[in-house]
């Protein structure tokens, strides 16, 4: 059974942090940002004109009653336009320079660093627009539009999560204020590596996951812990510390026998959560 828990129901979701870097290698990238705003606001602006000057004077009572719905609808149209146009522009940019993993120099002379900054600037507008909406699903739609493999139910609790070279498994939870990176600046170097987070993973509050980290199914990364670049966390283990070290086995992993497992599985299969079978990070079976 697919897991589609709506994480936006959690009251801790403040939904106020952007997910893309503020790095701006060239000032002219802001031009694309303005173009995206311009394109995205034409259709909502027309709807507003139509509503206020044509519909509302014609049937004032009815349209006054649906005014809040209209405003929210326009808001959603604006965000979806922002995501759509950003995606199109991103695809065009990727034709010129395909994103790739590696270690680069943090310098404007480095092509990969420049294009990473450009991609982030393009995506920033869509994420900024999505973050203005009170429900978290808009963020997840934006994530999926930009190619992050995740589910609608993934809980991004006000965390900083990079928006490329990232896979987040089913039923995983990223804690409040955590940072999940697939691209990081370390001194003079700039590192891009794909980060994989398995199923049923819990990343604690204020933890930091560095690029290239692979977290196995049912693993736990404790609060305030940090992984190193390219670190592999074994399935069904809890890790703590900086850098993260094995702390103890996760006895409540679905791959282990623990007291009340049957009840838990039954509850999850009949309510909202479930676990995909045979769809885990390669070579990690939780044994």
């Amino acid at each position: 059974m697919e897991n589609d828990v709506m994480s936006g129901t959690d009251p801790m979701e403040f939904n106020n942090e952007p997910y893309t870097t503020n790095t701006l290698v060239m000032h002219r990238y802001v031009g694309w940002y303005i173009v995206l705003f311009w394109l995205s606001s034409l259709l909502p602006m027309y709807f507003l004109f139509d509503f206020f000057f044509i519909r509302l004077p014609a049937w004032p009572t009815f349209f006054f009653l649906i005014l809040p719905l209209t405003l929210i609808g326009n808001w959603v149209v604006f965000i979806l336009c922002a995501i759509l146009f950003s995606r199109i522009l991103l695809s065009i940019v990727n034709l010129f320079h395909k994103p790739r993993e590696g270690v680069f120099i943090r310098s404007r002379q480095d092509k990969d660093y420049r294009y990473w900054s450009l991609r982030a600037t393009i995506k920033k507008f869509a994420f900024w627009a999505a973050h203005t909406f009170p429900l978290v699903w808009m963020d997840v739609i934006a994530f999926k539009a930009f190619g992050v493999k995740t589910r609608m139910g993934t809980a991004f609790f006000n965390a900083w999560v990079d928006s490329e070279f990232l896979e987040v498994g089913n039923n995983s939870m990223i804690g409040l204020g955590a940072v999940v990176l697939s691209a990081a600046v370390v001194g003079d170097y700039f590192i891009i590596k794909k980060t994989k987070i398995g199923d049923n993973v819990l990343i604690g509050a204020h933890a930091i996951v560095m690029p290239g980290t692979e977290i196995g199914n049912d693993a736990i990364l404790g609060a305030m812990a940090s992984t190193t670049i390219g670190q592999k966390l074994e399935p069904a283990w809890a890790y703590m510390g900086d850098p993260a070290k094995k702390f103890k086995e996760n006895k409540f992993s679905v791959n282990k026998d623990f007291k009340g497992k049957e009840k838990r599985l039954e509850r999850e299969s009949t309510t909202t959560t479930g676990f995909r079978e045979g769809d885990s990070i390669s070579g990690e079976d939780g044994k």
């Binding site: 259709l43 270690v103 120099i105 990176l181 670049i229």
Partner: protein, 354 residues
């Protein structure tokens, strides 16, 4: 009979009588100071910034809309017998498929419709600019009375020292305004403008400095060219030592290309020399000095030896050689990081601290 001039001089010299009666211990009872945080000043300042920064762009926007943009669509402002917006029967908006017609039929509406989003952006930028201008005006006025300077302020709310107390009140007031301005820029649509805003408000921010979100800063901070403050990292030039303790203000300096990778705490008085790196989750308390071309990690941060850095933190990755031309562009002397000396082979298995 005494000379009136001498009498007047004696009156001047004579100390004014104390308002407080003598106490049983023989001395005079000190007048109790009252703790006031000057909330009225906060509220007035906020509304001053709010009205000026929103009022002027809003006025320009409404005038532009009513006098220029809407008439192009056949919508006019009627003032008599009642104030209302009247839509002409021939308005382009009343046509079928009006959204297409706006672009296909020749007329002034196409120009106004297409340029309206850009006008919005212009007004938003004007709003940000006015926020910074008014904020700086208030901060400068406050700084004239009590300037921002390094030191230790006693944070005592019961019978405080008047001089210390004045410093404390103005420290709070200045930072309240700085916070309003910085919030506008960091959470706004153009977060890159925060570099300009910090410079405008009196801090020094060099070229190419990157402030990722969740960044906090107070006054007395200097960020030189290409410094990087990563996601979740915070730098602060003040620290409060206990609720009833002291506020310590010390300058923070991040040198050229100094880097806080993420989730760091850069405490007050920290000096990060050029190209020094604070690895993720590393924290600095008060007055730390990070040496140039070195890596630091931990709580509190300690220097990481090159071998450990390569083996654990960089996972044995081969780091690219930085050409001299790039050093020239950065404006610093070519010098290899110490960690680059001991590059391990690419396929060396990592241990990851297990």
């Amino acid at each position: 009979m005494s000379d009136p001039a001498v009498q007047a001089r004696q009156d001047e010299i004579e100390l004014p009588p104390s308002s407080s009666p003598p106490n049983l211990e023989g001395g005079r009872k000190k007048k109790k100071q009252e703790y006031k945080l000057h909330y009225a000043r906060y509220i007035y300042s906020f509304f001053y910034i709010f009205y000026v920064s929103y009022g002027i762009p809003l006025l320009i926007g409404v005038l532009y809309l009513v006098l220029l943009a809407l008439p192009a669509f056949g919508i006019y402002l009627q003032v008599y017998p009642s104030i209302d917006l009247v839509v002409e029967p021939t308005s382009i908006l009343k046509q079928e498929w009006a959204f297409i017609a706006l672009f296909t039929q020749p007329g002034p509406w196409a120009y106004y419709f297409v340029t309206l989003p850009l006008v919005y952006i212009g007004l938003y930028l004007l709003h940000l600019f006015l926020t910074a201008v008014v904020g700086r005006q208030i901060v400068r006025a406050l700084a004239k009375r009590v300037p921002a300077e390094e030191g230790v302020i006693e944070r005592r709310f019961v019978d405080p020292n008047p001089v210390e107390f004045r410093k404390l009140v103005y420290y709070h007031s200045r930072n309240f305004i700085l916070r309003v301005v910085k919030w506008k820029f960091t959470k706004g649509m153009f977060p890159w403008l925060q570099n300009w805003a910090f410079n405008f408000m009196g801090e020094y921010v060099g070229k190419g400095v990157v402030f990722e979100p969740e960044f906090y800063s107070s006054e007395l901070a200097t960020y030189e060219d290409d410094a990087y403050i990563g996601p979740g990292a915070l730098s602060s030039s003040h620290v409060v030592e206990g609720v009833w303790g002291r506020v310590i203000l010390m300058k923070v300096l991040m040198g050229k290309r100094a880097c806080a990778c993420g989730k760091n705490i850069i405490g007050c008085g920290t000096v990060m020399d050029e190209r020094s790196v604070l690895l993720p989750q590393g924290a600095l308390a008060k007055a730390f000095h990070l040496r140039a071309n070195e890596y630091y990690d931990g709580v509190p941060a300690i220097r990481i030896l090159p071998k450990k850095l390569q083996r654990i933190y960089f996972a044995g990755m081969k780091l690219p050689e930085i050409p001299d031309a790039v050093f020239k562009e950065w404006g610093i002397e070519p010098k290899k990081l110490k960690s680059a000396k001991d590059i391990l082979p690419e396929n060396t298995p990592q241990e990851n601290g297990e």
